[in-house]
């Protein structure tokens, strides 16, 4: 059977994290009642004119800098003319000839994927398909939301790599504060170009395109399906036609949507309503300096300076909120290893149990708690209980400290153990005769903890019990 290489290129749209839309002052906000977040500009009323939101340009520059793109010193907006009901003006303001970013790359574990460009454009409205009686309705709230479109070179060769690329990209955008990439809200959407060619051949095969995939899982499945479909066609002596295909996630297959031959001619030309954007080198340098540390940079700090394992560093940097949290705790309690232990177990387990992303203890409180443990002011067991109470009831750490603080130890602890053993001769006898003496032993430690309200030094208590039960 003939072997093939798969060649994949991606076009990724991400909604930028600005306060207002890209060409008007409407809020850039998701989830409002239909057509309540629009103005003459974003619904394209006659006479309305776009005015560029400079913040959106800054965010695209930021994105580009995290991917080593070249930043154009002059960026131009063009009109992409096409007719579709969700496009209020019958043209989309986009960029063709002079995008903000050119080139660049994103490095995966085993390869570097080259980027072609990143440009800024406006999002369209949204069609809401109702019942037959209602028909299709248009919601223009999304119209004019700033979008960055990133286009890769066809450097990706498997569905796994595509997902790795997207994960990496998403992480970068979130870390740089460029986008939130909320997939379920359409905050990040992906067009996939797939072709196959005989293994080792340097001639690209005919490609097909699947548009608007909105989950990594769909991207993964769509690529595998489409690559297999193409290989099947070629093995049977068929030909691949250049076309746009629709990915049907429910049925797990792609369906031909339109042939490229009949696709629209976008009649791009420079938008006469907008000035070309000059991007001085100094501005780019300033933005560069303002960039926060990227996940790979953080990872190397965690491993080399903090002595964390790669596994631990990966988990901590997977999510910006988590690494921000970690960094802040470490700022107040300078024992990264200990902080990591607590976060990876106590914090993440609770989050996992609750299926929520919210860490319900402030970094400051967690640092205080760890300090109390380190200073032996509370026991580890009590600290965990305190964490639970803060987490669940938002209790005050200082009052909890009063309640749990003061460790029972030494002679005091020993006399308590003596007293318990003296008052429970039956249990002492059981301990010596039972097949499972460890159960009885645990009962004794439990009694000590109960008596000391958990403040006993657990290790010492066990030593005393062992000694006195001999």
């Amino acid at each position: 059977m003939q072997d093939f290489d798969i060649v994949i290129g991606l076009e990724v749209h991400s909604e930028l994290k600005t306060n207002s839309k890209v060409f008007c002052s409407c809020a850039n906000k998701f989830g409002q009642a239909p057509n309540t977040n629009c103005c003459p500009v974003c619904v394209g009323l006659p006479g309305a004119l776009p005015v560029l939101n400079k913040k959106a340009v800054e965010l695209v520059i930021k994105a580009g800098l995290t991917m080593d793109c070249e930043i154009n010193d002059l960026a131009v907006f063009e009109r992409k003319n096409y007719f579709y009901p969700d496009l209020a003006k019958a043209y989309q303001i986009s960029q063709l000839v002079r995008p903000i970013c050119i080139g660049g790359h994103i490095d995966l574990k085993d390869k570097s994927v080259r980027l072609n460009r990143i440009h800024l454009e406006e999002d369209a409205g949204k069609l809401v398909h109702g019942t037959q009686a209602i028909g299709t309705l248009i919601d223009y709230n999304r119209g004019g939301v700033p979008l960055m479109e990133l286009v890769t070179e066809p450097d990706i060769s498997s569905a796994e790599e595509a997902v790795e690329f997207l994960t990496n990209l998403r992480q970068k955008l979130i870390y740089a504060g460029v986008a939130e990439c909320k997939m379920e809200q359409g905050g990040m959407r992906c067009d996939v170009n797939v072709s196959v060619k005989p293994k080792g051949s340097d001639k690209l095969g005919q490609r097909t395109e699947m548009k608007n995939l909105n989950s990594f899982k769909s991207v993964f499945r769509a690529i595998n399906y489409e690559a297999n479909r193409q290989m099947e066609v070629l093995r049977n002596g068929g030909k691949i036609i250049q076309e746009t295909r629709k990915w049907d996630d429910n049925h797990g297959k792609s369906i031909s949507m339109r042939k490229k031959e009949t696709s629209s001619d976008y009649r791009y030309f420079p938008d006469p309503d907008l000035l070309a954007v000059e991007i001085p080198r100094e501005d780019v340098e300033t933005i560069k300096k303002s960039l926060p540390l990227m996940p790979d940079q953080l990872k190397s700090i965690y491993m080399n300076e903090y002595g964390l394992s790669e596994y631990e560093s990966d988990i901590l940097t997977k999510d910006k909120e988590l690494s921000d949290y970690f960094n802040e705790v470490v700022e107040h309690f300078n024992n990264p290893k200990e902080v990591t232990n607590w976060i990876l177990t106590e914090v993440l387990n609770r989050i996992k149990d609750e299926e929520s992303a919210e860490i319900k203890i402030s970094p400051c409180d967690l640092a205080k708690l760890l300090k109390l443990v380190e200073d032996k002011k509370v026991t580890r067991t009590n600290a965990k209980e305190m964490l639970t109470r803060i987490w669940e009831n938002d209790e005050n750490i200082s009052s909890l400290e009063k309640e749990y603080g003061g460790r029972v130890d030494g002679e005091e602890l020993k006399s308590i153990v003596e007293k318990i053993i003296a008052n429970n001769s039956k249990a002492v006898e059981d301990y010596h005769t039972s097949d499972t003496p460890e159960k009885v032993f645990r009962w004794f430690t439990g009694q000590v903890m109960k008596e000391t309200k958990g403040k006993a030094n657990a290790q010492k208590a066990e030593e005393y019990i062992k000694e006195l039960l001999k």
Binding site: G47, A88, F269
Partner: protein, 477 residues
Amino acid sequence: MNLKDLSLIDLAKAIKERKISSYDATKYYIEKCKENAHLNAILEIYDDALENAKIMDEKIANGFEGKLAGVPVVIKDNILYKGKIASCSSKFLENYVAQYNADVVTKMLDAGAVIIGRANMDEFAMGSSTENSAFGITKNALDESRVPGGSSGGSACAVAAGMCPVALGTDTGGSIRQPSSYNGVVGIKPTYGRVSRYGVVAFASSIEQVGPITKNVKDNAYMLEVLSGGSEHDETSLKMDSCNFLLQIKGDIKGLKVGVLKEIEDAVKGLEVEKAYNDAKEFLANNGAQIIETSIPDFKLALPCYYIIAPAEATSNLGRFDGVKYSKRSQNAKDVDEIYIKSRSEGFGKEVKRRIMLGNFVLSSGYFDAYYNKAKKLQQKLKNEAKTVFEKCDVFILPTTTGEAFKIGEKMGDPVSMYKEDLFTILTNILGTPSISIPFGKGKNGLPLGLQIIADNLNEGVIYNVADFIEQNLREV
């Protein structure tokens, strides 16, 4: 008080000094609009105009001051005035109600103006005779068998016939200056970016401007001051405040360097306007100006350049009119595609359709470089050529039209000859420079001809000085 001969400035002064009320002035002009209904210059007189005049009178009594306090004004039908219909003289927008105020409307209202109505025009400002209006032909104020010019034909006719002291027009290829010339009034196309385009229904965004049409030059300077000034709604508006153009009218043109283009000497030969143009040169020379022969070698290419850039932008600007959100929906449509196709087929007039097709053609892939890109390069070349002119000259002059107003229907069957109507006016839209048209001389039927005075960007003050000098002194020749 005799309002008929009162200039805009004098009327504003009289209202301010409360020699006449805004109410009476507004009523007078509304009467004039009604008397002249047969000219079909005004599409609608706003029913709240008198009410607004009354309110202005109260404000003025309470000390309100504004350059246009209580002054009645007419706007072209493509300028948005909130709550009022703005139809662009198109059947497609017959009932379209403006949702917000154009910047120029806001500026006029802030200055105290009472907007009394909207004026007829060529549909979507495409045309040179107002014959392309879906709501009937406007007649020339001076000869009803003739066109008033276009596309701001209604505005120019309204001023000439005394229906208002000032009207706004828009000028994309001569649409203020040519009708001003045909009706014997004064109209300016300001420097591109001098006036905000926000709220003006776009035809060719990169070259068009709003400007005033008035009975005389000083009124025009006074009105442009109100309209000018950068706007945060329009990126292409120049980020500068308005200025007092009247201060630059000095009543003297001694030593002024006036350019005459070699290309025009040839172009005017045998035209009706030839004598008036030559008279203008002589008049300026006799009054101390220095006439300098200069050249814009590609002058004639401005016209084809315009007929590529303007339709290209128009086709994109008009794409939004689809019969769905606004603009009239066809009653004969059975499905979505038919809504689009039939609404547009029925809604747009012939000339608009012609330009939409032209624009799509020049932008389509494979033709883009040959047409649109070449036109943009040519535009840059013309700007460079004009630059050399302004290195030697303070202003240069051009005729406004080839002759006096033509007969209604005369050019409707011949679009190319209609397009050539803009031969002399289009250049400054391509250049972006300011240009005024003032009456100068008469044609063979005794109808007015126009002279354009053109200066470099932002030099409207120089233009007004020359124009005013001619206006003040020509009668005595």
